[in-house]
Symmetry: C2
């Protein structure tokens, strides 16, 4: 393994809210990892696991409606629930249907798709979730660029599950000394992950979005989204659509 | 101790960057604690420990200059250093001079005074640092209002030392069950503090602002600012000036 001098270390930062993206994003030549564990980025990874061709993330319900009128399959979620008139929301289980294989799907969610669209300026934008944790780490280690982990949060607030995932990525990255320039946000996220990682579900029991989803009877979704490394897909934003190689 | 039902619990949140203040501040009837451990809020607490009458925080160097021309003592710091032409910067040691006793001091710093001015909309705004940790906790427990811990950060980015202090306050608050409604940001800050608290100085060794100050030979300031509970002063913003009772 190479042992680069300090000046050539890659910077690893965590942007804990999409509202801070303009503060952190000063470097076009970095990889942005968009994170919305409950549930947009977990659903996106699951969609590709199940053979969906591409996903077009849109920020507004109006845009989603326009695609729906053109005949697309459209997922639309706000505050944890499916919006009336759309095909599904952001439950990973909705993306396992046979009829979606090979199709283009349009998706709008409370936090995740907005974060994706905010990140578009970057050189490379990928999607991370616990489901494809190691695949994301391997992708970043191959790219050898600065890394900005963008937590979708909850309505621009900090949330725990996205931060824990960011910390899991940091823990994996620093095994390579090239990724030795950790911002405080990266160190903090990693240390939180280390507190939580032996039992993520238990650690998250009292967090806000976890409680919100439990009230909506989404325990099965939560358990699904907290599985680590069941996917090797790394969805990447190319133009306006997410695809996998 | 009272044991209130869930609906009456006070909300405790941590705003990890001043740029997020508009996202978190929706509740005029809360106490905002402004935190800039290295070094503005530590210096402010120290100033009152040493008999300064009041401190006027200003955001810009231009405002600071106007006060200077009027004959005020004026502290001005940017990027860790004293700005030429001013009396001092934000080292706590600068505020221990006899000539400042009973005086009004004007202060502008890179992060802390901007956070103070951003917080002005709130019902009550106080200043926290490790130096007055328990005094701040006691003040908040007496007020029995929602609590918003506002980290000054570093140029709108997350920083470690302010987050750790926020976590220390959360740890103290939850001994009273009234403060049982923790946002994820509060839980995360508390858990980080619990990782770090046995040796704050060691934990902070590799953090960004700590390194920045060490390069400026400010080790003595760092050690001073990391002392817990040497002050019982809780500076409060009343109008445009900080004072203590």
């Amino acid at each position: 393994m190479e042992n680069p001098d300090a000046a050539h270390l890659r910077k690893v930062e965590v942007c804990l809210s999409p509202a801070l993206f303009p503060v952190y994003y000063s470097n076009k030549n970095c990889v942005v990892v968009v994170i919305d564990v409950f549930r947009a980025t977990s659903a996106i990874v699951t969609a590709f696991d199940n053979g969906i061709k591409e996903i077009i993330p849109v920020s507004s319900i109006e845009e989603a409606k326009e695609y729906k009128e053109k005949g697309y399959f459209v997922g639309a979620e706000r505050k944890g629930e499916i919006i009336e008139g759309f095909d599904f929301g952001n439950s990973p289980f909705s993306y396992m249907q046979d009829q979606l294989k090979g199709q283009t799907v349009v998706l709008t969610t409370t936090n995740g798709t907005k974060a994706l669209n905010r990140a578009k300026a970057a050189d490379r934008v990928i999607v991370g979730s616990f489901l494809n944790l190691t695949a994301v780490i391997n992708y970043l280690r191959e790219q050898k660029k600065d890394v900005l982990l963008l937590c979708a949060g909850w309505r621009d607030r900090f949330n725990m599950e996205d931060t824990l995932f960011a910390g899991a990525v940091v823990e994996g990255l620093i095994e390579d000394p090239l990724f030795g320039n950790l911002a405080d946000s990266a160190t903090a996220s990693m240390h939180l992950y280390q507190v939580a990682k032996d039992d993520l579900n238990e650690y998250l029991k009292n967090t806000s979005h976890r409680r919100r989803l439990a009230r909506l009877n989404l325990e099965k979704d939560i358990a699904y989204c907290l599985q680590r490394d069941i996917s090797s897909n790394v969805p990447e934003l190319v133009g306006n659509a997410l695809t996998v190689k």
